[in-house]
Every structure is written in structure tokens, then in C-alpha cells.
């Protein structure tokens, strides 16, 4: 009896906070998304699927969704391409130095994204480091427009999120049993074949969690997208914010759940393609 009371006293407060401030608000948000807009209240009569139908029927929204997926695909591809060799480098370091390099990768993640995006504004902007340097060298006369396009968003988000990818893959690679690779090489496989048929498949849990983290954080990176992309490179998350600013609550809620549906669908796709659960004893 006393033990159950004790267990309830420990679980009660955190569970209450999770239910009231996490699950509850999301259920309420879904409820709001199923109602019409209202001039005076948060939402009007319902239930209706009109908000979702409007999003899916509007070519403007579909263009933005396509652009969001395209941008995310670029970021994921590049993060994997650059992140994997870096993770391999980190995983091969001796433990003490690996800890220091991991700290060097963790530190940027602790700095607010707005500061890191501002760093890119200071580098790419019209009065930024690149433009002033090129002008001083006499290469250009007028500043180049490097900011406020999709490339700037990709570069900015890629560099902001890259440490997640590197750390995820490096953790799996460092925990990997080296004897598998040695066995492959003893059986006559060259370095490339060993990598493609042994190391790469065994590291899929790290690759999957890296891709998922980067993808989910890309979807909600409103501030970075706004600062680097400007008004002409808006993504889905910008539309959520815009409809909040114009007090269209049910539309904002429906857009939020559209974003969530995309997040879930792609999470499922990544897990289905990579099947990280194949690898036993993941690190």
C-alpha cells in the first residue's frame, strides 16, 4: 500500500504535466482544426474537414509543401554525404580525443539557432564577409545576392543540424564490433567492399536516427528559414506562423497537423527503407 502510494507520488506530477501541457493541447489543437473560422472566437461551428480540403485543393499550399520536401531532401542528402565521413573520422579516434571532438560538435548545438542563422546573415548578406572581401579584392563591383534564396536556407540549416547527424552515426560506428570488418577482410573483401557490405549496413541505426532528427528539426526551423530565406523562400512552417499572425486559428491548426502528417509519413518511410531494427545490439 505504502509502495503504491509512493509510486503514484513520483509518477503523478510529471504525468500530469505531460498530459495537461503536451497531450492535451495537441488534442485541443486537432479539435480546433476541425472547425470553421470565426471573427470573434478562437473557432466557429464544426466539425468540418473544410480546412484540410482547402489546403489540399490550393495550388499555393501544394507548391509550398513540395518546396518544403525538396529543401528537406537537399538538407538530408548533403548532411548524410558530409556527415558520414566525419562520423567515421570521429569514431576512429581514441576515446579521450573522441570525447573532445564530440564536445566541439555539441557546443554549437547549445548556441541558439537565431545566433547561428545571424552568423550566416553576417557572412552572406549584402554587407557580409563574402561580399566585402570580394569587393576589396576587386572581383565584383556590386554586392552579390547570396541571401534570401533556397540555397541559403539549405546551407544554413545543413550547418546548423549537421552535428546531430555526425553524433548519431559516430555513436553507432564507435560501438561497432571491429571483428566484423576484420572477418570480411580476412575473407578477401577489399576496403570498399568491406565498407559497402559490412560497415554501412551495420551503421543503419545511426543513419536512421540522424536522418530523422535532421528532418524533424528542419520542418519546424521557422526562424532560420525566415532569416535566410526571406519572404520568397517560405516553407510550410512559415505558413503556420503567417496564419497565426492573421488570427486564422483553425487554418493554422490544420496546417500544423498537415506538417505533422508529413513528419509521420516520412518517419515511417525512412524506417521502412533503412530498417534499423535489423541490426542487433544497437549502440
Amino acid at each position: 500500500m505504502r509502495r503504491t502510494l509512493w509510486a503514484a507520488a513520483l509518477l503523478g506530477p510529471p504525468l500530469a504535466v505531460s498530459l495537461v501541457l503536451f497531450v492535451g493541447p495537441l488534442v485541443y489543437l486537432f479539435h480546433v482544426s476541425l472547425h470553421e473560422a470565426s471573427q470573434s472566437e478562437l473557432y466557429g461551428p464544426g466539425p468540418t474537414l473544410a480546412n484540410y480540403a482547402a489546403i489540399l485543393a490550393d495550388p499555393f499550399y501544394l507548391t509550398i509543401i513540395k518546396r518544403t520536401l525538396g529543401t528537406a531532401a537537399w538538407i538530408l542528402g548533403l548532411a548524410l554525404l558530409v556527415g558520414y565521413p566525419v562520423a567515421y573520422f570521429v569514431a576512429l579516434l581514441p576515446p579521450r580525443r573522441r570525447a573532445l571532438v564530440t564536445l566541439a560538435l555539441l557546443f554549437p548545438l547549445m548556441v541558439s539557432n537565431v545566433v547561428r542563422a545571424y552568423g550566416w546573415v553576417a557572412i552572406l548578406g549584402r554587407r557580409g564577409v563574402i561580399n566585402t572581401s570580394l569587393r576589396d579584392l576587386g572581383v565584383i563591383d556590386a554586392p552579390l545576392d547570396l541571401l534570401f534564396n533556397q540555397e541559403a536556407v539549405v546551407v544554413g540549416l545543413l550547418t546548423i543540424l549537421l552535428p546531430y547527424m555526425v553524433i548519431s552515426i559516430a555513436n553507432t560506428l564507435a560501438a561497432l564490433d571491429r571483428r566484423y570488418e576484420e572477418a570480411a577482410q580476412a575473407l578477401g573483401a577489399g576496403p570498399l567492399r568491406t565498407f559497402l557490405h559490412v560497415t554501412l549496413p551495420l551503421s543503419t541505426p545511426g543513419v536512421a536516427s540522424g536522418l530523422l532528427l535532421v528532418f524533424l528539426l528542419t520542418l519546424s526551423a521557422y526562424v532560420t528559414i525566415t532569416l535566410l530565406g526571406g519572404p520568397r523562400s517560405k516553407l510550410l512552417v512559415s505558413l503556420i506562423f503567417d496564419s497565426v499572425v492573421s488570427f486564422q486559428w483553425p487554418l493554422a491548426a490544420a496546417l500544423a497537423f498537415t506538417l505533422l502528417a508529413i513528419a509521420l509519413a516520412l518517419t515511417g518511410l525512412i524506417l521502412l527503407v533503412l530498417r534499423p531494427q535489423r541490426v542487433q545490439g544497437r549502440g
Binding site: 545571424y118 553576417a122 506538417l259
Partner: protein, 263 residues
Amino acid sequence: MRWGAWIRGLATALAFAVILCPILVVVLAAFSPTDYFVFPPPSLSLRWFAEFFRLDNMRNAFLLSLELALSSACIAATLGTFAALHLARRKGWVAAVLQALFLAPLVFPTIILGLALLLLYKSVGMPPLPGLILAHCVVGMPYCFRTVLGSVQSLDPALEEAGQSLGAGPLRTLFLVTLPLVWPGVLSGWLFAFIVSFGELNTALFLTGPGVTTLPIEIFSYLQFQGSQLVIAAASTLQIALIILMVAGIERVVGLGRIIRSR
């Protein structure tokens, strides 16, 4: 495999350059003596830091962020520790569901959480500051939960059993045996909750308002509406400096390895 090593080395150099350069540029810009950032700066000055502390809105945002991070990290660490102590030795599907629930905000798109909380707060009339503190609790709690869970699970259960068999009740066992052994986990969880709150943008974006603004949101609105004045470089540098200070302080107490593991 020679060129394999070359690719790894080159990729690592490139990655660290693009990850760290933006941060270095901001810090360098903060010490500029000029009105606009000139690269390389002709000399160094503290002019923009003085300007930062002269501006009421900047100073207030800094103090509010500090207050918010401190209070939300303390609540998040307490709740996360509770949840971890409860779940550490439990198995079965209920425990698995609860664990997934407590970890979910780590990967959940926080912008949606921000919007959901904004609607909830609007319908119950929540004042802005407590609303922000609670939002940052939800965001910070998973970090504390994860670090404490790891600490408790690596603890020998015999120690707690010994305490109980010697006649200590659950509360005395907690304070005299378990907490003294897991407090490094609690402390590093607290540190992460603090840092996450101090730089958080996505829920703060919706939940801040006139008079109640955090430093990251203040920096964001300056960048959006007033152009890149160098006072925001100073604000950003102070943000970075505080994080370095906190990490260094906690590292002295609990050690580097624990901070890295508790990511």
C-alpha cells in the same frame, strides 16, 4: 584505404569550418568599433556591449531569459527526476508507453507544441510569464528524464535494497541513498534544460508578447525589423559566453564524459 582517410579528414575539416565559422563571425562582429561589420575589423572595442546594457529592451530580454531558464530548468529537473525514479526499474508495456510519452517532446516539432499551447493559454487566460515557464518545462523535461534514467539504471539496486532492509522508508532511501548517487545525472539534465530554454525559439515565438520577450526572440525581431545592427552581435556573444560558463562550471563538478553522454 589511403584515399578513404583523405576523404574523412577533408570532410571533417570542411564540416568544422562551416559549423563554427558563423559563430566565430558573430563573436568577432560583437567587438567591432565600427557602425557596420567590416571584415577584418580595424581594431577591437567593447562599444556594442555597452550599447547592449544601455538598451532597456535588450537588458530586460536578457534578464527574462535568465529567469525563465533558471525556473523552468529547476521544475523540469524535479519532474524529470520523479519520472525517471518511477520508471527506472519498471518493465512492461505501461512503462514503455510512459517512457515514450516522457521522451516525445525531444523529437516532436516544437513549433506545433508552441501553437497548441498558445491556443490552450488563450482559452484559459494564462498570463505570459508562467505560460512560458511551463512551455519550457515541457521542452526541457525529456533531457532531465533521460540523464537521470541513465544514472538510476546504472546504479546497483542492492544499494537501495540495503537501505530499505536496514529500516529506511522510501523517502529516506531516496534522500540518503539514491539521490546522492544520481545527482550528477540530475545536474547535467538541469544544465541541458537550462541551455535549451535559454536558446529556445519555437514555443517562445508564439508565447512571448509586448513586455515579455526572451533574448533569442528579441535578437530575431531586431534582425527582422531593424536590420543587422551590431548590438545583436553583442547580445549573441553574451548568449554564447553564458553557455560556455555554464558548461565549464558543470564540467568541473560532474566531468566531461557525463555531459557528452547526457546529450
